[in-house]
Structure formats: C-alpha cells, structure tokens
C-alpha cells in the first residue's frame, strides 16, 4: 500500500485523526479556506455592530426563512416567498439589506441601502423587493373598513446627481402591516455600476396624513419594522455559456 499511497494525491494528505481530538490546525485552516472560497469571500466578514436583532428576526420570519437542519442540507426556503425554479438553485444568492439613513440628507423620507456585491463576483439580479411597514394610527371603524393610499417610491439612478425614477403602488390597508414594492430594475441598475452598490430611495405617500397611516422608515424606537430590501441574484453567466442537460 505504501507505494500506492505515495503515488495517489488524495490518499497521501491525511490529517491526524479528528476522533482523537488532536485537530491538525492546517486541516482546520484548509476547511475554513474552502468555506470562504465557496462563498466567494476573500476573508470572513468583520462584524462589529450586527443588524439589530429585532430587525433581523422580523425579516427572516417575514420571509419564511425555514429552520436549517444541523448539516445545512435542508434548503432554506427562498427569502422572498416566491418558489425558486431549479435551474437557479445551484448558484443563487439572496441578500437582505436593511435601510440606512444618510445623516447629510435632512429629508425624513429618504433612506438608502448598501448592497454588497458578494465578494466581487458578477451577480445578475433576478428579483428585488422592498418591504415597508405601514402603521395605522386610528382603528378602522367605518363600514368600508379599508384605507387607500398611493405610495410613491423614488429611486435614484447610479452616479452623483443622476435622475430619479418612480415606482408607485396603490395600497389598501385594513390594519398595520408590511407591503412590498418591486424594485428589480432599480437594483439591477445599481449592480451594473461599481462594486459597492448604494441605492438611494425617497418614499412618499399620498393620502397617508388624511387617512392616519404612517410608513415606518427609520425609527430607532421601532427596529423590528425597519424597511428591508430582498435581492435575489445569481452568478451572471458567461455570454456564450453552453448549457448541457
């Protein structure tokens, strides 16, 4: 066997027996490198002040992120509640980005998202959904039982001082709750420029004041209702990739 072992690469590199607890540091480093390289990360992220737990729990619970078995094999249901078709399964990313406030911008209705590009790989956005929470200030008493408002989400195209586009949606509210707005083209635009993607938004609501409705933007006393953006992306394919079935 010795001669066999010498000639076969995968037989030779044998880390010490993990059962005996004497874990070979190099082997552990190799596994760490392996995990980071499969996630296309150069190094492990440096987490100094993670997202407030309340916001994270709400987002994950809202998006049906299921429980993972220990070995990570059970699929986490996709984050934005839409069934994921098979061909994207193998190389897909889903990114939840939480709204942040630009201290230099006085307007209360403006916020931005910083969506990383996942280790500088060229990601192709397949869907982007903005989640906003609307609070009803007064209980609904009249028989029609619904409030109708027009929500306008302005998004700025990439680049300083560039123009703003608009996504608007009529929202009917029976109670306080979350509502979604599709921003796929906005986020796709943001991804097509530079490495760190910043997406500036300005949220307006026609009829909210008269109807006693408040969109929760960045309210530090209400972290669990912080707006968040769910981006589903996949590895952009080479222009002429031949698909083999």
């Amino acid at each position: 066997h010795q001669e066999l072992r010498d000639t076969c690469a995968s037989c030779a590199a044998q880390p010490e027996d993990p059962e005996s607890g004497r874990m070979d540091g190099d082997f552990l480093e190799a596994v760490k490198r392996h995990i980071l390289s499969r996630l296309q990360l150069r190094d492990r992220p440096n987490i100094t002040h993670p997202v407030p737990k309340a916001a994270m729990v709400t987002a994950l619970r809202k998006l049906h992120a299921g429980k993972l078995r220990e070995d990570g094999r059970v699929e986490i249901p996709n984050l934005d509640g839409h069934p994921m078709s098979n061909e994207v399964l193998e190389e897909s990313s889903e990114i939840i980005s939480f709204a942040e406030k630009d201290d230099l911008v006085m307007s209360k209705s403006s916020l931005f998202f910083l969506i990383s590009n996942e280790g500088n790989q060229n990601l192709q956005v397949t869907r982007a959904t903005l989640w906003l929470y609307f609070k009803l200030l007064l209980p609904i008493v009249e028989p029609r039982g619904r409030r109708k408002v027009m929500v306008k989400v302005y998004y700025q195209e990439p680049g300083f001082g560039s123009k703003w586009d608009l996504v608007e949606k009529r929202v009917e509210l029976r109670r306080s709750g979350w509502h979604t707005f599709t921003l796929t083209s906005a986020v796709r635009l943001a991804f097509e420029t530079g490495t760190d993607r910043r997406q500036n938004l300005d949220i307006r609501c026609e009829g909210c004041e008269t109807e006693g409705v408040v969109p929760v933007l960045l309210d530090l006393s209400d972290e669990s209702h912080r707006p968040f953006l769910v981006v589903r992306a996949r590895q952009a394919e080479g222009q002429h990739r031949i698909r083999k079935r």
Binding site: H1, C8, L68, I95, S97
Partner: protein
Amino acid sequence: GLECDGSNDLCCRQRFYIDFRLIGWNDWIIAPSGYFGNYCEGSCPAYMAGVPGSASSFHTAVVNQYRMRGMSPGSMNSCCIPTKLSMMSMLYFDDEYNIVKRDVPNMIVDECGCA
C-alpha cells in the same frame, strides 16, 4: 460507499464536523451552526476493483474489469475520492451587514469511491 471506522484502511468517508462556535464564526454565520467537512481517505487496492459500488464512475468500472483480469491499461493507481456530493444552504452577514442566503452546490461529501 464505506464509512471509516478504523477497522481497515480501505477507501472510505471520514465524517468530520466543525461547530462554527468553536472556530468563532458563529457571529457572522446565522445558519447552520456547523459544517460537515467530511473527506475521503484510504487505499484502493486492485482487489477493490470488483467490489460493487466502489467504482466512482462507469469509466472506472470498465478499467476495473481489465484490472481483475490482470491486464493493466495505462498507469493503474487509483485514488479514493468523493463520488457523491450534496448542496449546503448558508445564511450569513456580509461586510455591509446584509443578510445573505447562499445555496452552495457540492459542498458536503456524502460518499467516497475509487477512481
């Protein structure tokens, strides 16, 4: 595929679990709480050629038929390698405190065989 149980040194799968807490990665990885970094080890002697299920591919099965008849086309050392891999989903924070969900294919070694 065989599971390594120390009873022989034939090609088998060594289970190996890393708890992310023990390596200080549980602050940025939300789920799962650990990773099965299983690997393959062991030798692939000639008589393994005939063992059903030990060939890692049809090509290997055909070459094994030659080996069992004492004919050796080309260099005949075969290696113990993964023959079945499965995907792993991970939920983690990235540098901008986004929560990312990745489905990483071929991340966990399920079975090993000789090739």
